[in-house]
Amino acid sequence: MGRERASRGEALRGTTTRPAETWGRFSRYSSALLLFFTFCAVAVVGLFVIRDLRRADKDQQKMYTGSVLSLHRIADLEYQTQETRRSTLYALSTADSNLHVKYADQSREADHLVSQGITAYLANARTRNELEIGRRLEQDWSTYLSVRDEVLASILEGSAKEAVDRDLTEGVESFDRVRQDLAEVERVYDQQASEQLSSVDATSRRTIIRVAGVLAITLIATIASVWTIQRIRMTGAIELAELQMEFVASVSHELRTPLAVISSAADNIADGVVKGGDDLRKYGAAIQNQSRQMMELVDQILLFSATKDRKSQVPLASLDVPEILHSVLQQTSDLVRASGFQIEVEIEPALPEARANAPGVARCLRNMVVNAVKYSGESRWIGVRASLSHSHLRGRREIQIAVRDRGIGIAKSELARVFEPFYRSPAVVAEQIHGTGLGLSLSKNIAEAMGGELTVQSELGSGSVFTLHLPILEDNPASELPPEARVDGTTEK
């Protein structure tokens, strides 16, 4: 039988979710969780990508509107300035006054467009440098237009030579200044375009790095999650296999000892070593005793197997707690006496009847008493107390049957595993205390099937207290018991 303990006065309820169950549930939902996390990661990546793409798109639009259109405007401005001068000079090519007027009109239309362009440039200028260039351009263009007007006037008056002289002396110089200003404006636009292009490039690079980074993190997180889950599953499987191997070894050992006794007794009887009725009775009693132990062990294994299914229910009825307690103590009296134990029994007077299954309660109590005997170490004292208490957890009154020992106790690190099937403490194994690791697990299952519970308090080196909690009949009348409740292997054999 397994040994499960608690330490340092801590109470641990048998109904507490165990780590294995927790991991089991986690494993069950791990795929969904992984999918969820992956979806979240992909969604986050998607949001990053969309945001960066939108930013890049805006940057590109801004670059286009801010630089490309500006460059287009400045190119148009350059063309119109050339057109202004060209139309003026065309007028030199004819003596027809009507054509002179036509060319003058063309020149003035072009210079009007140039003036509009310069005004627009000044309106859009944001930096001090842009404003300075714009104002200079405006001034230089105005100067050129003054010259142009004089040149036009000279041409229209018919003084071509005067017009050419003025254009060469003043017009060319002022027009060159305008061209230089426009070239400077173009350089500024080029510079701005380059800066914005660099910004777009930087945004693009940042986007790539972010996406790659987030994808890498997502990949690493996914791999780590899968690895962790698989490791947990594998570790759990290995631990279970080890426990089952230990269980098989323990059961074999538990079976081998009585079988050896029976076999030896049978050999002696067959060989005629046993003579006389007294010896024969003695050997018969030994065989009977060992057979009962084997039967008990097999029953326990079968019962654990049957109660492992949580859906199993036991028939509940009114139960006289002192009576069942005395019955169990009677059943274990031989073991207690043989081990030299002293049992202190304290039963609170006028205990109400419990709502429980008598064979189930008997089995739980037997396990608790036998455990106390096995793990009491040098101490030879066991305390049994039955009392009426209020359960804060369930919010009702209940009968508590506590079995206390002053034995080796249970380490805190092992407290969480005391009710796990097949689990046996390494210290217990080292001390060669026999057991299957099923006793407390079986008792817990039975207690829960009855609507009760099994809890433990323990302190390493000071002893342990295992308490069976049973609901009382007054709060749960027998008439409310489910009629379809079925017996599921919990009958005393």
């Binding site: 006054s97 009507n98 002179h100 006037a153 229209l156 008056e157 018919g158």
Partner: protein, 179 residues
């Protein structure tokens, strides 16, 4: 009660004002047609907006148009703008200012330029619009247009202290009938 009376008074005043404005505009509309006709019949002498001269006597105007005066007081060379033969405005100028016909006009300038007595060679434009634009472009230009063809790009000068439309203004042109 008092408030209602105020509202009524305001409403009546607004109605009277509206009616008066309507009547005035109707009246102006009726008057604008004869005025338009008058403007078409008056021949305006126009110069560049930058020209400081605002008025000339008929005698001075004749000297200018005959090319006997080469420069304006500001030193700008005088450029005489004529419309092509066939325009009523040209005929009116030949008649009212030059007192010549086309042949006499041509002979005058050919002779004057050859002898150096005439300082200005007239520029001939094919349309009044062209003439107006020419005058706009040349600071020393002077020409003639129907008063209805004049806009803000050129300046009308007084002749004998009269503007087109003034009583006693002497330069007129037959109504426009197309060429």
């Amino acid at each position: 009660m008092l408030r209602r009376a105020h509202v009524l008074v305001i409403f009546v005043c607004a109605a009277l004002l509206g009616g008066a404005l309507l009547a005035c505009s109707f009246g102006f509309a009726q008057l604008s047609a004869p005025e338009q006709s008058q403007a078409e019949r008056n021949l305006a002498i126009v110069v560049n907006q930058s020209n400081p001269v605002n008025e000339l006597t008929m005698a001075e105007l004749r000297r200018v148009f005959l090319g006997e005066r080469g420069h304006w007081p500001n030193g700008r060379r005088i450029t005489l703008v004529m419309l092509e033969p066939g325009w009523p405005e040209r005929a009116a100028v030949l008649s009212s200012i030059y007192h010549m016909d086309e042949t006499e006009f041509n002979n005058h300038f050919l002779h004057g330029l050859f002898t150096g007595e005439v300082f200005v060679s007239p520029k001939t434009l094919s349309t009044p619009e062209g003439a107006r634009k020419f005058i706009f472009n040349v600071p020393g230009a002077i020409g003639y247009l129907r008063a209805s063809d004049v806009d803000k790009t050129v300046k009308i000068i007084r002749i004998d202290e009269r503007l087109p439309g003034d009583k006693g203004y002497k330069l007129h042109v037959p109504p426009r009938e197309g060429r």
